[in-house]
């Protein structure tokens, strides 16, 4: 007993050190995975965020055609980085619909003029309602949605060149 309380603290501390050392070597996963994957997107109806494109409603995601749902904003720097890759996806035949988070029409217009417009529809999500309902916790995020409005895949962060084939593959699996 006496031995136990004398050496116990050292034992506990070594256990902690081992655990902490292990955790420090692990890449820290900062991403919050959506719990909505495999589930249908709840109802919504967003007004247009830009004069050239219609707004976005749940019905548009249930038209039988798989799509990419891109959560973005004109104030978001990684969104600028991913713009050319969204264009590439678009050229490869992917249909992309956008949800602009907490944005102003003038800023949206300027962003699209500068960085290109790969979207067929852009809804204005001023209160992050749609963003939260699909389980996204930041911008940009890109969701693969099948023809019935069910979320198949979530991509967190900006889309990079290496992600383009993967996203096309997911769309193809969904029957696009």
């Amino acid at each position: 007993m006496n031995k136990l309380w004398i050496w116990g603290p050292l034992g506990l501390f070594l256990m902690f050190s081992g655990l902490a050392a292990y955790q420090l070597t692990q890449p820290k996963d900062e991403f919050v995975q959506s719990t909505m994957i495999g589930k249908p997107i709840p109802d919504f109806d967003l007004r247009p965020a830009h004069q050239d494109r219609p707004g976005l409603a749940i019905a548009d995601l249930k038209d039988g055609k798989p799509k990419l749902l891109n959560i973005w904003a004109s104030w978001c720097v990684p969104c600028i980085a991913e713009a050319p890759h969204l264009e590439a996806l678009n050229r490869a035949g992917a249909e992309i619909v956008g949800v602009a988070i907490r944005d102003r029409p003038a800023d949206v217009a300027r962003f699209l003029a500068q960085h290109g417009n790969p979207y067929t529809r852009i809804g204005a999500d001023d209160l992050s309602e749609v963003q939260l309902s699909v389980g996204s916790s930041g911008v940009p995020e890109t969701f693969v949605v099948d023809g019935n409005g069910i979320i198949l895949h979530q991509h967190i962060g900006d889309v990079r060149a290496e992600h383009v084939p993967m996203l096309l593959q997911k769309l193809a699996e969904a029957g696009a």
Partner: protein, 648 residues
């Protein structure tokens, strides 16, 4: 030039701590060798140099020297002077420099004043202090140099996190640091005593003022931090069991236990190994807290300077120091005799109970804080919060506080409960009466009700050690104990009352409309934009009247800072003797209505008044102890002089 001077001073201080370590180690063979005699001067000089380096950093921030990387990254020429200075420690590098400065100054001070212990123990202690310091010097100089220059001076600084532009927060971290680092002295004393195996009441008396001092700073730091979180974050809560809050609470719990066990050791020469153990644990908890915050290993709102590389460095230091000290403890503890025995019903018995309970609470907080780390290793994400900490902590806190109401009445060594039966009966009756009263008042939360009952009983009990005594002749240290124990009762009353009787209202109202929360009627008179030196804000002008009385004006704001851009809520508080009204303004709802979040929190302010009383009690105890020590020192000196006279 100034930055280079600071850096040079830092390198010199590090070099002196090497000298201090070597001298102290050699002194274990021969206390009178030339190198051993250098230990104390080296400690003093090291303290002065580190202090100088910190002053240089303050100067660089005061003049906003933008050629220094740290200043450019954390300051801005338009910032008010007080926040420029606060910027010096409101970042990773600066705060590590503050850490090392406080450690070096503390080492210098013991080197300068402490003459009571055998020289060998002192040299071992200073060597331990230098050894711990060296690791932090290495960390600072090799990976976090605060004096690094930019190749090209910046045009303008990057500002300071606006959340940190708050007078409370400017002084909250350094206060905690004084506490954390003050405990390093207790750690070094413990290691020194383990090395020389000299654990006795003199050792306890030498260590006690340092533990008390560190504990006072920790108490104030935690109290201030809790109040800051309460009014600045705008969430209406005062404690969130956030890993960083826990990181400050754990050293406090260990230091509180140490404070009591060191008193037993000083008065009765008992609990020797246990006191040494707590001395090691208290500072270990400080370092562990620093590690958790700086490594980013746990997710926290506080995780600034999160950097795995730094985390690895601090973990290395942790293993070296905590592991080393615990290893030394394991090797030496069995060779230190246990000290005097005592009966269960005695002052020592009550203090041991207090120590066991505090250690249990410490264990619970530690487990809760580290649990997510454990489960993440198995890829399970959990968040441990109030549903765990509150009830599990209370299981140990409530019995501890009940014993606390009576413990100080018991005599040392041996006593009987029959002698103190009346105080026990009075406390129990008061508890039951208060419990009945709050249930009648309509609060059915078990923890809060029990908390209120124990608080009132403890509040009365804390004054019982004074009964039947001439108040003018009660030692200052005893007054310190009474005030500190009463402070705990006051704080507990505030916590329990806040949780039992708070009312919350989330309203969306237009200008001219009013809403009710508790006894307050709140009217939205106007909403207007206002501007400050580095921010603009939407301000709501509220008229609030308590129970139909005259209306007072409150102006909560939603502020936007521009360097760097960030939005903060400036909540406002209307304080009455019996509680606080807490108001936060939110966004416009879109139809001309504004979101208002209002709380009425009865007696909530007692939480922090209690914390201040606890710290005040600590201060009184410190004054009392130092006074007695000085007197003792004077008497010993006189006796020595007389002996010398008689001999000549």
């Amino acid at each position: 030039m100034a930055a280079e001077l600071g850096l040079a001073a830092l390198w010199l201080a590090a070099a002196l701590s090497v000298l201090q370590l070597i001298g102290g180690a050699l002194a274990q063979r021969d206390t009178n060798s030339d190198l051993a005699k250098l230990v104390r001067p080296a400690a003093v000089m090291q303290g002065l140099l580190a202090g100088f380096a910190f002053l240089v950093l303050l100067y660089l921030f005061a003049v906003t020297d933008l050629s220094v990387k740290l200043v450019a990254a954390n300051s801005h020429s338009d910032k008010p002077m007080i926040f420029k200075l606060a910027g010096a420690w409101g970042n990773h590098e600066g705060s590590m420099l503050l850490w090392i400065t406080v450690m070096a100054l503390a080492g210098g001070l013991i080197g300068f004043v402490e003459r009571r212990l055998p020289e060998q123990t002192m040299q071992a202690t200073l060597a331990a202090q230098a050894f711990v310091g060296l690791g932090f010097y290495a960390f600072l100089l090799l990976s976090s140099n605060p004096f690094e220059r930019l190749p090209e001076p910046a045009m303008e600084g990057m500002g300071l996190n606006p959340l940190l532009q708050d007078i409370g927060l400017a002084f909250h971290p350094p206060t905690l640091y004084f506490g954390y680092v003050g405990l390093s002295v207790a750690f070094s004393f413990a290691v020194g005593a383990l090395l020389t195996r000299q654990v006795n009441p003199d050792f306890a008396r030498a260590m006690r003022p340092w533990v008390l001092g560190a504990w006072i700073f920790l108490t104030l730091g935690i109290t201030a931090g809790s109040y800051w979180a309460y009014y600045e974050l705008g969430w209406g809560g005062w404690w969130f069991w956030d890993p960083v809050e826990n990181a400050s609470l754990m050293p406090w719990l260990a230091a509180t236990a140490l404070l009591h066990s060191v008193s037993v050791l000083a008065a009765r020469d008992a609990l020797r190994t246990w006191t040494i153990m707590l001395g090691v644990v208290a500072f270990s908890m400080s370092m562990l807290g620093t590690f958790l915050v700086r490594s980013g290993i746990l997710t926290s709102v506080h995780a600034f300077a999160a950097d795995p590389e730094r985390g690895t460095f601090i973990l290395g230091l942790l293993i070296l120091y905590i592991g080393g000290a615990l290893l030394l403890f394991g090797l030496r503890a069995s060779s230190i005799s246990e000290g005097d025995r005592f009966s269960v019903t005695s002052r020592e018995g009550a203090l041991v109970f207090n120590n066991v309970m505090l250690s249990a609470i410490l264990g619970i907080v530690l487990l809760g804080t580290l649990y997510p780390l454990l489960t993440e290793a198995f890829d399970v994400r959990v968040s441990v919060g109030p549903p765990y900490f509150n009830p599990v902590g209370a299981v140990f806190t409530i019995p501890m506080l009940m014993v606390m109401a009576v413990g100080p009445l018991l005599r040392w060594r041996q006593d009987s409960f029959t002698r103190v039966k009346w105080p026990i009966i009075i406390s129990a009756v008061v508890m039951v009466a208060v419990l009945a009263l709050v249930v009648i008042l309509g609060s059915y939360s078990i923890l809060a009700d029990l908390g209120l009952a124990v608080a009132v009983a403890l509040g009365i009990g804390s004054f019982m050690p004074l009964r039947g005594r001439n108040l003018l002749r009660v030692p200052i240290a005893t007054w310190g104990m009474v005030v500190a124990h009463f402070g705990i009762a006051v704080a507990l009353f505030g916590m329990a009352s806040e949780s039992a009787f708070s009312e919350e209202k989330l309203a969306a109202i237009s200008v001219g409309e009013s809403t009710q929360v508790g006894p307050w009627q709140v009217t939205l008179d106007a909403v207007e934009p206002v501007a400050g030196p580095n921010w603009t804000a939407i301000q709501a002008n509220l008229g609030a009247s308590y129970d139909g009385g005259t209306s007072i004006e409150l102006t909560p704001q939603s502020r936007n800072f521009w360097a760097p851009p960030q939005e903060t809520t400036e909540s406002v508080l209307a304080t009455r003797w019996n509680g606080q009204l807490y108001a936060v303004v939110g966004n416009e709802a879109g139809d001309g209505r504004w979101q208002l979040r209002l709380w009425w929190k009865p007696f909530v302010t007692l939480i922090w008044y209690g914390g201040i009383l606890v710290a005040l009690g600590g201060l009184l105890a410190l004054i009392g102890r130092v006074k007695t020590d000085l007197k003792r020192r004077y008497v010993v000196k006189r006796a020595g002089d007389r002996r010398a006279e008689a001999a000549s």
